[in-house]
């Protein structure tokens, strides 16, 4: 049985896992998403140009596909052309196979969907025992103002999977609160504390502390890159991360945590397809190697049930 990778070969996480699989001498096959126009999936087989693969020979899969319509190879293709329809059919066929195959999948498409709605994910996190910031989703300017008054310091961010920065409300925003009547907006109480990123790979938990002056440490434009160093979590928090990832059906997850000065742990988000190389490069934590081992041998991995219905 071999490991199938689906995504773009030059992308850091994909390249890192591919390299580590090579070090393990694990049989591997890369489905380069950029070659979607040369790809066909039919009768249980995948063909890319002259290369062929029987999907029944796949024992595990790691995927990080992009929106096919936005690939450079698709930019010259008319949206309603036969080529475009065929490309999207390849995506549909792959996603359908990934959700129903017995192979070990990091991560199944259905398990990654909660990340497309942050408030939906907050409800999940609460059910698994994590503290989450007090949150209001609203089109009511007065409700937004009252929430701000109640909490003093408030941040706003996107609810959907569209990436956005976390930003604090300032007095400049007060006059614009009327705009929430046009589009529901998510506000959260600002929770002060130390940021941590916890990666769960099967049963393994690898955590790092992230130090930045920015409200969102991924926004390095104004404040420069953050300082990142490896750190351990308290055992109970580590276990909560492990069980949350498992409960969400994720073999790989990146959890954004914050520890308050009083020692309470909040979780803001679970990323089902973390760009882990950013943290690996900063800390030396062997995340790619752990993912490759999970794919190739099942070591340190949680066995999958034979059939997944959800």
């Amino acid at each position: 049985m071999l490991t199938l990778l689906w995504g773009l070969p030059a992308e850091d996480p994909m390249a890192a896992v591919w390299r580590e699989l090579g070090k393990l001498r694990a049989p591997r096959f890369f489905f380069d998403q950029a070659r979607v126009l040369e790809t066909e999936i039919r009768d249980g087989g995948l063909r890319i140009g002259s290369r062929r693969l029987r999907l029944e020979s796949v024992g595990s899969c790691y995927l990080r596909p992009y929106d096919t319509r936005r690939l450079p190879s698709m930019q010259a293709v008319e949206a309603d052309s036969e080529a475009s329809r065929m490309a999207l059919q390849v995506d549909e066929a792959m996603l359908g196979w990934l959700d129903s195959t017995d192979a070990r999948v990091i991560n199944r498409p259905a398990a990654m969907l909660p990340n497309s709605s942050k408030p939906y994910q907050l409800i999940q996190l609460m059910s698994w025992g994590f503290a989450v910031p007090d949150t209001l989703l609203t089109t009511d300017p007065q409700a937004a103002a009252d929430f701000w008054e109640r909490h003093g310091t408030v941040v706003y961010k996107a609810m959907s999977g569209v990436r956005s920065r976390v930003s604090r409300l300032t007095e400049e925003h007060r006059a614009r609160l009327q705009d929430v009547a046009v589009c529901p907006t998510m506000f959260q109480e600002y929770v002060p504390g130390a940021d941590f990123r916890c990666h769960v790979v099967g049963e393994q938990v690898l955590t790092c502390r992230v130090m930045s002056a920015a409200d969102d440490y991924r926004d390095s434009e104004k404040h420069g890159p953050p300082e990142i160093r490896a750190e351990m979590l308290p055992l109970d928090v580590e276990e909560m991360c492990r069980s949350t990832a498992a409960g969400m059906g994720l073999l790989l997850a990146g959890l954004d945590l914050r520890r308050t000065p009083a020692g309470q742990w909040y979780c803001f988000e679970v990323n089902p397809s973390p760009a882990f190389t950013y943290y690996e490069q900063a800390t030396g934590q062997p995340l790619a190697a752990a993912i490759a081992r999970l794919l190739a041998t099942g070591a340190s991995g949680t066995p999958l049930s034979a059939k997944r219905l959800h």
Partner: protein, 218 residues
């Protein structure tokens, strides 16, 4: 109060809402001041239905006839912002329907307002596990007839085997409402498709939804 979530262009949903005295909600209605959701205190959430604010406990049932918020639904938003606003509205509706729980037909999945976004291979795999004969090649349309299951019962009268298979599939998938499409060719009945679309044009389905809304099993 019964509410129907649908496209602004869904004439069938609009007619159903009028007959039932239900509130029709379209994505455009989210550009109205007054909606509030607190994920930590779901009972305090507020919707704006028929121009007035309605608390979560006042909402009886919601029938969903919209899979996602399309940009075409929100033409009043500036074109460069429509993709983002559509995504935010989708996420908001997923959250709102999720906190309403079993009052929704069907509870949404994170990326699909109608419920789980399973693709055909997964439905067919589940059916085969349950011992249901499956046909994956496209049959003649005129031999396909959908069996709607609401709750634990089929809507309408069906041959026992087909009804049993539709109920088993809906139950295994954990769905409140579903439609199983069967083909009958040369004396053989096979499952050819499965979806979560409420057929509001069917008098039987409308009656069954009315009973569900009142809290009765159909």
């Amino acid at each position: 109060m019964l509410a129907v979530l649908a496209s602004r262009n869904d004439a069938v949903a609009r007619a159903f809402a009028n007959r039932q005295g239900a509130a029709l909600i379209t994505p455009r209605d989210l550009s109205t001041a007054g909606w509030q959701i607190d994920p930590g205190r779901p009972e305090q959430s507020v919707a704006v239905l028929c121009g007035r604010q309605v608390t979560a406990p006042e909402i009886g049932r919601v029938v969903v006839r919209l899979s996602h918020v399309d940009e075409a639904e929100i033409g009043h938003i500036r074109e460069p912002d429509r993709a983002f606003v559509a995504a935010e509205m989708q996420s908001f509706l997923v959250t709102w329907l999720t906190i309403l729980g079993s009052r929704v037909l069907n509870p949404p999945s994170p990326a699909h307002l109608l419920g789980p976004i399973w693709r055909a291979p997964r439905w067919f795999a589940l059916a085969e596990e349950l011992g249901i004969r499956v046909q994956t090649r496209l049959p003649r349309f005129d031999v396909m007839r959908p069996v709607t299951v609401l709750g634990s019962e089929c809507v309408g009268t069906w041959p026992e085997r087909r009804a049993a298979e539709a109920r088993r599939l809906a139950g295994a998938a954990g769905l409140t409402l579903s439609r199983a499409w069967f083909s009958e060719e040369e004396g053989e009945t096979s499952l050819v498709g499965f979806d979560l679309w409420p057929d509001l044009e069917s008098p039987d389905v409308e009656a069954a939804i009315g009973e569900w809304q009142r809290g009765d099993e159909c």
